[in-house]
């Protein structure tokens, strides 16, 4: 956007404030604010450069030949893209296997938590049963507990069941979630109770009311929870580090760190090709479901 159009639009900007309500009250501050507008745009663009720069560097460097990868200045536009790193990363480590492992772990946790949290969130919001508030309070209290505080006992449980060094050790402990329950409950709480009552009078069962009326209306909250879980567990490093030993079970973050360690500084561009591959699913998901990512950020703040 050029500076002139920015300055011109500044007069309307101050009164509309992004809400489409136009009132011409601030005309006399037009000029001063026009300059402020340009400065603010420059600051924003600089911030965007800092935010995107390292990511762009990662992508373009993954397309340089291994010999050139660490030579400065960095090459910001890949004029001669070299895709050999992307084949090399598959040859040097079982990144295909890591990818499959990550998909299995993440998908099963997302599906599992969607089921358990939708059921429990609905019960806490809509059904009355003895001890409900106490149990829900206990759920809420665990949300502040760091993962590191419970990791040793969880690790011991995993070992007891003979699940250590397996994908199941990552999946099973993550199938229930206090936060997910909380998130779903908040959403069900906003729904009108009359709908369920009407369906009950028409003879629907308790389960029928849930599955045919409310669960269908909960699609936005379910999507938000699924997206939150996907991005969280896809990126997870701490539990895999502790639970997994053999390379064939590694998920992507753990595998990539291993790749970096094994290869030393020689093949940066190969490591970065792996990093890019690991990011592709998140980026694709973000492109298609951006609003659920944004909803996920704000989801907790309604507490």
């Amino acid at each position: 956007m050029s500076a002139t159009t920015t300055a011109m639009s500044a007069t309307t900007t101050i009164v509309t404030e992004g809400r489409g309500v136009s009132r011409h009250t601030a005309g006399r501050r037009r000029r001063a604010f026009g300059i402020g507008k340009i400065v603010s745009l420059i600051v924003l663009i600089l911030a965007a450069v800092f935010a995107l720069g390292p990511l762009l560097w990662t992508v373009t460097t993954s397309l340089r030949s291994p010999a050139d990868a660490f030579s400065n200045p960095p090459q910001w536009i890949p004029f001669q893209a070299d895709f050999s790193n992307y084949t090399a990363v598959f040859e040097q480590i079982p990144i295909g296997q890591f990818f499959v492992n990550s998909v299995i772990v993440t998908v099963l946790i997302v599906v599992g938590q969607t089921i358990t949290c939708t059921l429990s969130g609905y019960a806490f919001a809509m059904i009355s049963f003895p001890g409900k508030n106490v149990i829900f309070g206990a759920f809420l209290a665990t949300m502040m507990v760091p993962l590191q505080t419970i990791i040793i006992p969880v690790f011991l449980i995993i070992k007891t069941f003979g699940l250590n060094d397996s994908l199941a050790s990552l999946i099973i402990p993550a199938l229930g979630s206090a936060f997910g329950t909380f998130l779903m409950r908040q959403y069900f709480m906003q729904m009108p109770r009359e709908l369920g009552e009407a369906a009950r009078i028409d003879g629907a069962s308790q389960w029928g009311v849930f599955s045919h009326v409310y669960a269908r209306m909960a699609a936005p909250a379910i999507s938000t929870l699924a997206i939150l879980n996907f991005s969280g567990f896809w990126a997870e490093f701490y539990r895999p580090l502790i639970f997994l030993q053999s390379q064939s079970n590694f998920t992507l973050p753990l595998g990539l760190v291993g790749l970096q360690g094994n290869l030393g500084t020689g093949s940066i561009s190969v490591v970065l090709a792996g990093v890019v591959i690991a990011m592709i699913p998140s980026v694709l998901l973000f492109i298609f479901a951006q609003r659920y990512f944004i909803a996920g950020v704000t989801a907790g703040s309604s507490r």
């Binding site: 603010s40 358990t116 590191q148 028409d202 069962s205 936005p220 973050p253 990539l256 973000f286």
Partner: protein, 323 residues
Amino acid sequence: MSAPLTAPHAAARATLRGAKPSRPVRRPGARRTARREAWFGFAMIGLAMLFVTVFTFGPILASLGLSFFDWDVISPPTFAGLANYTRFFSDGPVLQAFGVTICMAIAIVVLQLTFGLGLAVLVNQRTSKFGRTFFRTAFYLPLLASTAAVAIFMGYLFDNKFGAINYYLGLLGISGVPWLTSPFGAQVTIVLIVVWQQVGFTFVLFVSALMAVPTDVLEASSIDGAGPLRTLFRIKIPLISPTILFAAVIALINAMQLFDQPFIMTKGGPGSATTTATIAMYQTGFQNLQFGYSSAIAIILLLLILAITGLQFLASRKLVFYQ
């Protein structure tokens, strides 16, 4: 959004499909209905309850119990009383790890909130939908990378000999900044990297809070002659203060658990400069096999997080303005 629109259809379908032939509803059976409803409630929370009990409630109690024992996994645990806790308060390296964590966490929270709020205010003043979507995407993208991936590529960028950052600083006449090779440099680098990745989170929170500030309030202040800065500090920031508190609490809880970036980039070094509380806990537990002591550190970290969060709420009682 389509949910409210489809609702009546769903209800209608429910009566067609999920329903048995309708019987007249009788009130006298109310107690039985309540009991059946209760059983249905228990059944619905059953699965979540099972997993949360086994993998969260139980482990919290187990950690607490384990912290009173000495245990190396191989020989049977022996009761140690409060020995693990008294040991903590005389364990220089672990105390230092907690100190480092608190300092880095404060730096992270302050920078993350300042940048997040500043950028959100600037974006909020723009009308163009394109601009707003563009900047939101730009600031959110770092969150899509895993912390491990960020630690890897930032490690290359901050390399003090070959890294692109020192190359560009060299063009400005600043050469050879020891980002990851000096203790203070490593702490600064890790703070910067966490802020770089997390700022999009606070940014998105603040943008949506600012959008929710009622227009009439802003118009009133504008009519009364308040300039943009005055409106920001006297109207907007007080109105979104609950969101600021929430962001501060979340950011602090996360920062107190900082592990991935220092573990991958510096292994807690150089020396022990970036050994955070969770790295110290990992070393005592999973490397030195002192599970009892590691559990005691874990419980102390939990109490510290609870205490700091409680303090934040108390301190903000005067500052936060709930509508």
